[in-house]
Structures are given as structure tokens and as C-alpha cells.
Amino acid sequence: MNDLALIGPILAAMFAAATPLLFAALGELVVEKSGVLNLGVEGMMLVGAVCGFAVTVQTGSAVTGFLAAAFAGAATSSLFAVLTLFLLANQVATGLALTLFGVGLSALIGQGFVGIPLEGLPKLYVPGLTDLPVVGQALFGQDIMVYLAVAAVPLVHLFLYRTRAGLVLRAVGENHTAAHALGYKVLRIRFLAVLFGGAMAGLGGAFLSMDYTPMWAENMTSGRGWIALALVVFATWKPVRAMLGAWLFGGVTILQLHVQGLGIDVPSQLLSMLPYLATVLVLVLISRDVARIRLNAPACLGKLFHPDA
């Protein structure tokens, strides 16, 4: 009886925990589809988290906060874009640099905001539906960002597979030389994709600092940017599968919090390892199928392009 009553809140918390991962993973998915590997997701999420939080505290408006977070994430990613696209820097090294820089920059911006509480976003309430047992709260009692993240999944899918712009973006990711020969602006398209990835990572970070745990702490993303990168591989670059993956990881995160509540005596630090170990496990399971990865990965992923060469 008691266990059944727990399922509702657990399910609801799972969707919330999945939201930052989903934002970041969808953004990175589009970036990688255009042939760019940006390992700086963690850094962009942190900058988005701190900027969203700071702006919300200053203005009192969560909408402004989220817009600022998206802008800050995109601005951070533009550094990566300039370096890798126009100055032909190694994408792996630049992505790592972006994360290291983002960790430092967010800590610097956020030092005046440690310990300030924020209210978080209001939750939806639909009379009747939200009160449904088990699924009510999970499906009809979330806040707007959770729904926006889910809504972004079909939008990204439709963009990639049902629009001309999406087709061009995928072409650039599969074969930049051919796309260039056809007259498409490879660098411009990649630049825009990277900015989109940055904005989405910023939103994911801001969801953490403004809503999920409404406060700012240094390094508060604690590896979620990296898990989002793993999710893109897990999803074999397909938006709907990225969503399923994000829910799975949301579930693992929540499970870890509830195991102790169920009276199982495991040290909390060992339980906190679960999301990271799950990421490794999932990567192993998906990557072992070399043919599938090769079929689905954008063929020009991580390769540099110089239009004059």
C-alpha cells in the first residue's frame, strides 16, 4: 500500500530529473548532426545555470532568467564555434577547454549568489487530472520547463527529418565537402547549430539552478553535461531515443535518492555513483554494436573543414 503511494512522487521526480539532461542532449544532438563534437556541454550548462539564476534574482522574472540562460549558453558556445570553425582548433581539446573555462567562469559570476534561495517555478494543476493516482502528478503536475523539454523532442525530430534546413544540416554533417560543393555554407550552418546547442545546454543548466534545486552552487551540474553527451551516443543520434535515455537516467538519479528511504542500508556515496556507473554501462552496451554506431554517427563528426583547402 505504502509502496504504491511512493510510485507517484517517484515518477514525477523522474521526469523533472530528466529535464536538464533532455535539454542538453537535444542541443548536442543537433550540433553533432551538423558534424561538430562539442565536449563543452558541462561548461555551457554551468554558465547557463549561474546566469539564469543571477538574472532571476536581480529581475524577479523567471522568464527573463531562462532567456538570459539560453543567451549565455549560446554566447559561451560561440567561443567554441569561432575556435573550431574559423581557427580550425581541435574539437576535442577546445571542448575540454570550454568545460574548464565554464567551471571557472560560472564560479566567478556566482560567488555573490551562493546561499540565496529562489522559489522555483509554479507547478501545473489541472483539477481532476493532477489528482489522478500514480500518474497524475507525473503527467499533469509538472512545471512549464518539463513540458517544454518534451515538446522540443518532436520539434527537433521534425526539423531534422522533415524540413529542408534539417536536410541541409544533416548533409553538412555527413559530407561537408559535398555540401560545400553544392553551395551550402558549411561553416555558417555549423555555427548556428553550435549556438543552438549552447542555448539548449544553458536552458538545461538553468532548469537545475532555478527550479530543480533552486539555488546556485559551484559545479552544481556534477557531470550532467557529460552524461548528456553519452546520451547522444546512446540515442544513436535520434531525438526520441534521447528522450527515453533521459528518462532512464532521471529514473536512476531518483532511485538513488529513494533506495535509502526504502530501508536498504548502503552508504550514500556509493549510491551516488549509480548515475555515473549507469552511463558507463549504457555506453558499453550501445557502443559494442560497431556497425550500428557507424551507420548512425554523422560521417564528418569531429572533422575539421577549411573551405579554401
Binding site: 575556435l83 582548433a89 576535442v92 577546445t94 577547454a97 571557472g104 553519452a230 556515496q269 557502443s287 579554401d308
Partner: protein, 358 residues
Amino acid sequence: MSFIRLEPRGQASKTMVYATPLLAVALTLLSGFILFLAMGFDPLKALYSFFVAPVTSVRGLGELVVKATPLVLCAVGLAIGFRANVWNIGAEGQLTLGAITGGGLALAFYGEGGWWLLPLMVIGGAIGGAVWAAVPAYLRLRFNASEILTSLMLNYVALLLLNYLVHGPYRDPDGFAFPESRLFEADAVLPILWSGTRVHLGALFALAAVAGGWLLIARTFIGFQIKVIGLTPAAAGYAGFDQKRIVWLTLLLSGALAGIAGMGEIAGPIGQVTASISPGYGYTAIIVAFLGRLHPVGILLAALLMALSFIGGEAAQIAMGLPKAITGVFQGMLLFFLLASDVLIRYRVRFGVRRAAA
């Protein structure tokens, strides 16, 4: 077409290989000047208290060596891997494991140690780090899983493991429940090399790693294979080089070196196992490796510079109330500027509109 163009050079510029790190440092200092100005500090005074004041004393110079020691140990190993396109970014976790295994030995033989304990701890630390690095190696070779993501995930796991140990099995029985181990006995502490400072025997390990790393890369067949695999994997395949063996070797080696670095921290400046043994040495070592051009001697110089950014951050915090986080910003900026200016190695910048070929 455009006014500023990049024109490929026929051959990579040797001059630029050495000039761009200096250019990057200069650009970082310039940005630091602007940053301090924007934050309302006297920029010259701030830069002085950050980069000069900390090393005006013997003690300060010693601290520079203390902080450079783990950076060199980690970065030499990482650089050898990076040369072979093996992206180990788990040095932080491997360092932590070295501290866990090395420290575990110190605690296991507490009160019954001898001259053999320190060598045993070094070996234990190296094995701990190597085992932690063996996981991404195995997962990459057996299951094709990206070592970037697996080695990074293991950093978080290692930190949580350390946290668990100092709250549990490693905790000082007389320590009033503080999350730290007993202070090591004298035979588990690395001897001080330079009196009046905290410079310990680990500094010699770091120098040995520099020499060994140089020998391996420049003078052995394995080093040659590493370079070929990194530059043209296909050629390495035709030459029949065993690429799997190189992945194993580079990861185990960098893991072992990072493990020794971690052991050196707890048996050196810290003297016990605590929950926070590294201010991010394993991550900063990535910057050190690139800034040092993946060359052991360059790494030595780059590590001293990065060590300065750590103690400079602490000093500026005390002297001027600058936020400590500024260290990370400086480190990140430096790597950005380096990567950006590296374009000059293989390209020339040309101004003006290109004329169509006659």
C-alpha cells in the same frame, strides 16, 4: 572573398610551435588586465599579487614546486596518450585512486612500518591509478566505448569512493568523526628535499617522469609507434603496429603516473587521507599537456606556470580579496588562447582581397 583569410602553409611552422604558447600567455595576461579592471580592482596591482608576489619568497618558490609536481606527473602521462589519439581525461580519478591505494597501505601498516613502506606506497599508488585507467582501456578495446566519456565518469566515481572511505573505513578512530584519516607516521611521509619549504621527494619523481617520457617518445620504437598512430592511424595499420597494445600502454602508463601523483599528495603536503586531495590537478594537467606541446620538457615549464596560477589565486584571494575562482578562468582562457593561436602553425593570415589567378 573575405578580407582576412587563412592560407595553408606548405610546412608547419617550427617557430610558431614555440611562439604560440608565449603569445597565449601574453593574451591571457592582457585579458586578465581587462578582467581585473572590469571587476573594479587596480589591474597592475592585481596581476602583481597574482603572478609575482607569491614567488618572491623561498617558501613561495617551494610551493610552486609542490603544486607543479602532481601536474607534471599527470601531464606527462596524458601527453603520451594524446599523441596516440588516446583521450584520457580521467587523470583526476586516477590520481584519487592512487591516493586511496597508497593511503590505504599507509593506514594498513600504521604503527608497524619501516623503510619499505614508502616504496610500497609508491607501487601501490601506481597500481591503483593504472587499474582505474585500465577500465576505459578495456571498454574502448573490447566494446568500442569512448574513453573520453568513460574515463571522465570514473572521475566522479573515484571522488565518491574517496568520500565514502574517509567517512568510513579510513576515518581516524580518535578523530571525533571528522572525515579524515589519521596523520601518517614518519615512515609513510615523503622526505622534504628543501628545508624551509614543503618540497618533497615527489618532485624527483616528476623529474624522472619528464626524463622517462622524453626517452620513451624520442628514443624508442614504442614512442615512434605512438607518434605514427597519432598522426596517421592508417599508416600505422599498414605498418602492422599493434594499436591495441599502444592504447593499453598509454592508458596504463598515464594512470600509473597520475596514481603516483595522488600518492605523493597524501604522503607529501597533506600527510593524511582527506576528502579533498586535489584542487583539480587532473583537469589542469590537460591544459599543461597542451601548453607544453605534448613534450615532456615543455610540460615541465607549463606545469610551473599553472602551479603559479594556483598559488597566485590563493595569494590574490588573501591580499586583495579576489575570488579564488579566478584561477579557473585564467586556466581556461590560457587554453583557449593557445588553441586559437595554434592556427598560426599551419596557416598564414593574409589580409586583403584575393585576386583571381591570372
